[in-house]
Amino acid sequence: MKALEKLAELGSSLPGRAVEEWKGGGKKVVGYFCAYIPEELIAAAGALPFRVRPEGCTQTPLANSIMSSYNCTFARSCLEYAMRGRFDFMDGLVSMNSCDHIRRLYDILKEKTPARHMHFLSVPHKNSPEAIVWYRRELEQFKSGLEEWLQAPVEDGKLREAIRVQNETRRLLRRLYELRKADNPPLSGTQVQQVLMAATAMPKEEYNALLSTLLDETEGAAPLSGYRARLMIIGSMYDNVDFTRLLEDAGGLVVADALCFGSRYFWEPVEADGADPLTSLASAYLSRPACARMSDELPKRMAFVKEMAREYRVDGIIYQKMRYCDLWAGEGLKLSQVTQEWGIPMLSLEREYWLTGAGGLRLRAEAFLENIGRGA
């Protein structure tokens, strides 16, 4: 599958060929930090939205001189890369109050790293009529800032077009996920994750074309077999393909997720023809399958996990938490209760941003699969 190879390459390099080509055309790149930030706004302004990921970072000596060891290794890795100049290709940066680590990382980046266009969004922690009005106002200010910086008006028409393009991405990714429902899907969880990583690192038009090709190519692909259990991954921000590979090398097959780099990123479309596209964005993003930062959405969050597990016939859930990620660490309380009620085994794993202690993790994964699986 040639498209898969291309997407895997694009999603695993920093900044990657697509970004270099984009920049070569004299256009801007705007880094953003969280799945609650609408890429559509950035794209409509003529810039490339690029989700910030410190791909390949494995140590943070520079960042440790500022942030504490009580801060997660994702935040520290981002700071490390920013301080080393690895993020210099980002002309702009937008962040939000995703979690305590990321909102403080923004403060530090603002103070310590080279000047670039920066913006911060105060995103509500609930999904209510007032919250939608609030978030719309925040998006309006973000849009104004982009317009002023890029000297290009973001008319409603451009925004609607960006929403349509992104909806096409969502539609194609849903098709990709449909394939995973099969007893013997054509793609592994590792491969799907590689495809997903590219989604936030290249222009959507190009991505959609490659993804369409990939979907065509999967028709003739040999189905996977020989796995011991169908797994679903939930929890903290998760972009480490090596971690998924480890689970699959141990005999699992990752068929579903409730992750912000996975299904939660694209699950529901945004209304493209609504009266006010900013309201459509605010409403859709606050309504999407929720991160643990959304306090009032906990019942819906659990319902989403349950529904995904049912639809994808999941044998076990991998609940992974990044060390010091309080938001997802706290979910263990309710998750332990509901997974028991549902009768779905759950393995709780704490990890760093990069893969450490692979031997121990593999051992735990194998023991879990031994308990829940069908045997090798």
Binding site: S65, I66, M67, S68, Y70, N71, C72, A75, N97, C99, D100, H101, R103, R104, L105, D107, I108, E111, F120, S122, P124, H125, K126, S128, E130, A131, W134, R137, A292, R293, S295, D296, L298, P299, M302, K321, R323, Y324, D326, L327, W328, A329, G330, E331, G332, L333, K334, S336, Q337, E350
Partner: protein, 416 residues
């Protein structure tokens, strides 16, 4: 088989006992415990009195609850007190650790553990705020869902502008509607006005108390700051808090008039710019005794709201409470841009004429730890004073014992 604890009974007994002993031996100090002894009794007998109970985070609005015959039970304050008492909170942390990671704030984990142990009367509702931290947000909402208790999160935006206060006003209106729905009690505006009147009076005294603390020498002990925070969390909106602040102010004013300081010779004035070490309640007294160092202000004892003048309508009152909520200790510093935090620290160091600052880095506070170094640098640049930053779990002595903490502080003070 071990018998379970009843925390309301335990704390009611503790405060009643201390209040009675103080009234007998030091009648001039009786005000210090009387209000809170009464509070715990009220909580313990809430059901018999036909009142509802709300478990609340420390960033809550007690006035609303008192006006609706709901007893607010501030969770972090409860476990902050308990960890300083002999039985501690270790067993609760152990229970919680079976479900949530050990890096989640121990104030929240001990709440989870005690709730799962069944040591607290089941509440009618749980109310918390989305900030200052992720730990509180996730712990309260998960616990509420786990127990099947109705839960309301006051969403506190990042900014400090007019839109923020309008949003918070609606959040408070919605909170009242939520409480009415889930407790069956109606908000009586007359009672709310009365609660705000008490709250205003207490605040006026408190602002004057803060002014006294700025004097050299400081006429009031550091230990009062923790008592003040606990009292505000539970008693705002009651006459008990007015009495508490009035007595404290009058004693401080009288000492100030005589030129008396808390220590015979005030050698150092310290700003305690983070969470106090709750498992060592005598720490500030030790600093005074050993070093002549007075903690003149801390973060959680610094209530600096302006009284709510306009009480002409519920909306106006909620608007005033929105201001109050946004300015509550820790919400004020930790919910928005770093500048809110650094400025608050610098203002404290400057206004209270401090010689040094101490940042007790509570390991549960990831937002605080992320910028501790930047705050330290800013304090040095702008105020020319040093700031000690050290690791501690302010609620769990097993991480850094009182002896360890005191040793760190001793090393720091020896360099000044």
């Amino acid at each position: 088989m071990s018998s379970r604890r009843n925390l309301a009974e335990e704390l009611s007994g503790t405060f009643s006992g201390v209040a009675a002993r103080t009234a007998s031996k030091r009648p001039d100090q009786a005000w210090l415990y009387e209000g809170r002894a009464e509070y715990w009794k009220r909580l313990l007998t809430a059901r018999e009195q036909g009142k509802s109970i709300a478990w609340v985070s420390f960033c809550s609005i007690p006035e609303i609850f008192w006006a609706m015959d709901i007893v607010p039970w501030p969770m972090e304050a409860t476990f902050g007190i308990l960890t300083g008492l002999s039985k501690g909170i270790g067993e609760y942390l152990d229970i919680a650790d079976r479900f949530v990671s050990d890096h989640v704030c121990s104030a929240n984990r001990s709440m989870i553990g005690a709730a799962l142990a069944g040591d607290m009367a089941r509440p009618d509702v749980i109310v918390h705020a989305s900030k200052p931290c992720d730990s509180g947000l996730t712990s309260f909402s998960n616990l509420a869902e786990y127990l099947g208790v109705p839960n309301y999160c006051i969403d506190t935006p990042y900014w400090n502008d007019e839109a923020t206060f309008e949003y918070l006003t609606v959040e408070i209106e919605n909170l009242v509607a939520f409480l009415e729905e889930h407790t069956g009690r109606k908000m009586d505006f007359g009672r709310l006005q009365e609660a705000i009147k008490y709250s205003n009076q207490a605040h006026e005294y408190y602002l004057k108390i803060n002014e006294l603390r700025k004097l050299k020498p400081c006429p009031s002990p550091g230990v009062l700051l923790g008592h003040n925070a606990g009292s505000f969390m539970a008693l705002a909106g009651t006459p008990d808090l007015v009495e508490y602040t009035r007595a404290q102010y009058e004693i401080g004013a009288s000492r100030a008039a005589r030129g008396e300081g808390q220590v015979p010779e005030e050698k150092l004035r310290l700003a305690w710019v983070y969470v106090p070490v709750m498992h060592d309640p005598n720490l500030f007294e030790w600093l005074e005794r050993e070093y002549g160092a007075v903690v003149v202000m801390d973060m959680i004892g610094q209530y600096v709201n302006t009284p709510i003048e306009d009480m002409s309508s519920p909306k106006k009152v909620y608007r005033g409470l929105a201001n109050k909520l946004a300015n509550m200790p820790m919400i004020r510093e930790s919910r928005g841009p770093m500048e809110y935090h650094t400025q608050a620290v610098i203002d404290t160091c400057r206004d209270y004429r401090c010689d040094a600052a101490i940042f007790s880095g509570h390991m549960g506070c990831k937002h605080g730890w992320a910028i501790a170094k930047l705050i330290k640098d800013r304090v040095r640049e702008e105020m020319g004073i040093p700031m000690l930053v050290f690791d501690v779990d302010c609620f769990d002595p097993r991480i850094a014992s009182p002896q360890t903490v005191r040793s760190r502080i001793s090393d720091f003070l020896s360099l000044l």
